[in-house]
């Protein structure tokens, strides 16, 4: 340590525990700032700003600034608050679940060991970390909301100030609601089952609001806030009440923060530290495994359905045994992702084709769960090499069951699009003709991602490593984007649109073949390397 570092420690000795804690944290902050490379930070800010500028310019060009018609405005005015509220309710459910497992704070192991075991009020000790997390999330949410508001006011009734203001407030309040719920659950040590029940009750309430056209759920009230300029002031009361309830939730969460269980905090501290390291080297597979541990997401002891005995097709059978042990939460997550993909595809047809870029990544995340049997095989190379067949063959055979399961997920997305949009024939038609190639692209992309070695190209060039890590996501996004875009682009009736989607199926299938080739090459290479 240099002289400056040594002198930083002198301020640590203090008269009382709280002063000692504050002095230590201040010294650490000063040290962090002193060690930060200003030019490096400026360069990163410059890159982010440049990226954001290009992104905004692209969006501004892609989004049509044609004002929405009266019927569209009326429909959004009636349904949007409940739809937005439902999304908020799902996020609050996630927050409650995280809180019941020790979230949302990720406290250093040393902080648990020394500060939280010292005779210092834990509320005082934990509040700064909670407020910092809130500050970052709230500002990010408000900025994002304001950006969306900047685009929305050009299409819908209401001034720029009204839309930017209401959506910025909404964007700020959503993370407050989620973090407040998480803090409440962790501070009051709610059992996971109780936290999930409370979250599901809110989701159910929001679903009822959507079905009955009511605005009674606190989450729907936040939806009122997001669409305030459309409501001509009629929803100002509920919106204000919703905001008040969110702030009250935060206050209760912050007041009870000292009740955080150290057992959960320690476990979370260890897992989050590992996750951060894995994320820093873009090791997505490890991040997924750690995230499952963090969420206590374990396979069921008893499968949903026991497969009949039989020695034929062991790889196919092994994969389905894995799927049939999925916990409820994983099934729910994949279904939510499928429904969200279908909804975004519908929005792409009605609003802007830019949105077609989103269903692919959403379904890719679902496919990462579905590729688990293959991923486990690749996690254990010594076990794999003991099997009486070449690794490449094993990998290819492992693709079939996840591809079929991904097809089921795509079917759910198509049905959701049919139910949400006004044209079920088009949604189901496009879904049917693109289901097989898209399923294989998504399964292959997930397989390539799950079998990535984050260090394989890291020594050659970090950029190459990043490109390898992001390629599966891009292929998945492109594979789902193409049929949707083709169906949107072509003029004519539903038949012509479905035909256009079918026309690009060979290109999508080509993506899948590239994935299979990469997996084969990778498996052969690793097998040769192990011999």
């Amino acid at each position: 340590m240099d002289a400056a570092d040594r002198s930083a420690g002198k301020v640590l000795a203090a008269g009382d525990p709280v002063a000692a804690m504050k002095a230590m944290r201040a010294a650490r902050r000063r040290r962090y700032v002193a060690r930060t490379d200003v030019m490096e930070v400026l360069y990163r800010v410059y890159l982010w700003a440049l990226g954001a500028l290009f992104g905004l310019a692209f969006l501004a060009g892609a989004l049509h600034e044609v004002p929405a018609g009266p019927s569209a405005v009326a429909g959004i005015r009636v349904h949007a608050p409940a739809v937005i509220g439902l999304a908020v309710a799902v996020l609050v459910l996630a927050g409650l679940r995280s809180g019941a497992r020790g979230g949302p704070l990720a406290i250093e192991a040393a902080e648990v060991r020394y500060t939280l075991l010292a005779p210092v009020s834990r509320r005082t000790a934990l509040r700064p970390a909670a407020l910092q997390q809130l500050r970052v999330a709230t500002i990010a949410g408000a900025v994002l909301g304001a950006l969306v508001g900047n685009f929305v006011f050009r299409r819908f009734p209401g001034t720029a100030l009204e839309w930017i203001g209401s959506l910025a407030a909404f964007g700020a309040l959503v993370p407050i609601a989620v973090l407040g719920a998480a803090l409440l659950a962790s501070g009051r040590r709610l059992r996971p089952a109780l936290a999930a029940a409370l979250g599901l009750a809110l989701v159910g309430w929001s679903v009822l609001d959507l079905a009955l056209g009511r605005h009674s759920s606190p989450a729907t009230m936040l939806g009122d806030l997001a669409t305030l300029p459309l409501q001509h002031g009629a929803s100002a009361g509920p919106a204000g009440l919703g905001a008040g309830l969110v702030l009250a939730l935060l206050a209760v969460g912050l007041l009870g923060i000292g009740g955080l269980g150290l057992e959960a905090a320690r476990r979370r501290a260890d897992l989050v530290a590992e996750m951060r390291f894995s994320a820093s080297v873009q090791d997505l597979r490890t991040v997924i495994l750690l995230r499952r541990q963090l969420a206590s997401e374990h396979p069921r002891r008893t499968p949903w359905l026991r497969l009949a005995g039989g020695g034929a097709h062991p790889i196919w059978r092994r994969a389905w045994q894995s799927f049939l042990r999925w916990p409820v939460v994983r099934i729910g997550r994949v279904l939510v992702l499928a429904v969200a993909a279908g909804a975004v595809a519908v929005a792409g047809f009605s609003q802007t084709p830019v949105l077609f870029a989103l269903p692919g990544p959403l379904l890719f995340v679902a496919a990462l769960d579905l590729i688990e049997p293959l991923a486990q095989e690749m996690d254990h190379p010594s076990r794999r090499l003991l099997l009486p067949l070449p690794s490449a063959v094993l990998v290819r055979r492992h693709l079939l069951a996840p591809a079929v399961a991904t097809g089921v997920v795509l079917a759910v997305a198509a049905v959701a699009a049919a139910a949400i949009g006004g044209n079920p024939a088009l949604a189901l038609g496009v879904g049917a003709v693109s289901l097989v190639p898209c399923a294989f692209v998504l399964a292959c992309a997930a397989a390539v991602s799950a079998t990535n070695d984050p260090y394989e190209f890291a020594l050659m060039a970090p950029e190459m490593s990043q490109a390898v890590n992001f390629a599966p996501l891009l292929f998945a996004a492109g594979g789902v984007f193409l049929p949707l875009f083709a169906a949107w682009k072509v003029e004519g009736g539903d038949g012509a649109r479905v035909g256009a989607a079918f026309g690009v199926a060979p290109i999508v299938a080509g993506f899948a073949l590239i994935g299979v080739a990469v997996l084969t090459w990778r498996a052969d290479k690793r097998e040769r390397g192990a011999m």
């Binding site: 570092d5 008269g15 269980g261």
Partner: protein, 243 residues
């Protein structure tokens, strides 16, 4: 060990550490089952048992790092995790933990200040000198060897006042001279009136203890004098070093 006990509270007649019917299960697996023990002031208890017997679980329960699923435990008459219990109990874990950006000396200053150590500078210098940490005061945790980390962790446990000391395998990674120093420090702590529980597999620690509490499969297997004959009957040589 001057000034090690003054800051603690609790009734004079109450043993500083009391567990009654204490239990901890994980999804049906019993890590510790119906464990009852009392440790008096000035008593050194060796907590022994094979791996997975429940020793660390008990220490973590006493420190407030785990929640019991049955029974109760009190530190200085208070539940673990309460302000009084945190003031009274010092925990030396089996794996040292450090802030990555604080030096050994800064850790010691911080912990001493958190717990209101009187004359912290002298106490820190004494511990650094006796534990052989001279020259390593400005080192970060990541720069320390396993043995040095253990020494720093011991210093952190002893730099503050306490009535109860829990030590999980404290001799791990220490060279013979450092072990002697630790024995001396434990003896001084005991003489100053602290209740000490040391989880160990080592016969030299068992021999130095006033009492031996043995666990097997989460249950109390023995509670009495550290009698080698009894311990040999209870455990295989492979389960307990030299017993």
């Amino acid at each position: 060990m001057s000034g090690a006990i003054e800051a603690t509270s609790g009734a004079v007649d109450t043993p500083p550490l009391v567990a009654h019917g204490l239990g901890r299960t994980y999804d049906g697996y019993i890590a510790l089952g119906s464990f009852t023990v009392e440790v008096a002031a000035g008593e050194l208890v060796a907590l022994i048992g094979p791996n997975g017997a429940g020793k660390t679980t008990f220490l973590n329960l006493a420190a407030g790092l785990l929640e019991p699923t049955a029974g109760r435990i009190e530190v200085a008459g208070q539940p673990p995790g309460s302000l009084a219990a945190r003031r009274a109990l010092s925990y030396l874990p089996d794996s040292p933990v450090f802030y990555e950006d604080l030096s050994v000396a800064e850790h010691l200053e911080y912990v001493a200040a958190l717990h209101g150590t009187e004359g912290p500078t002298a106490r820190i210098e004494e511990l650094i000198g006796r534990l052989g940490l001279d020259g390593w005061e400005d080192a970060l945790g990541a720069e320390l060897s396993k043995g040095m980390k253990q020494k720093a962790s011991i210093a952190l446990a002893l730099v503050r006042p306490f009535a109860v000391l829990l030590a999980d395998e404290p001799l791990d990674g220490l060279d013979p001279p450092s072990r002697e120093v630790l024995f001396d420090l434990l003896a001084e702590t005991r003489a100053a009136g602290a209740a000490i529980v040391v989880s160990t597999h080592r016969p030299d620690v068992i021999a130095a203890a006033d009492r031996c509490v043995a666990l097997r499969d989460g249950r109390l297997a023995y509670d009495g004098a550290p009698d080698p004959a009894v311990l040999e009957r209870l455990f295989d040589a492979s389960e307990l070093e030299g017993a």
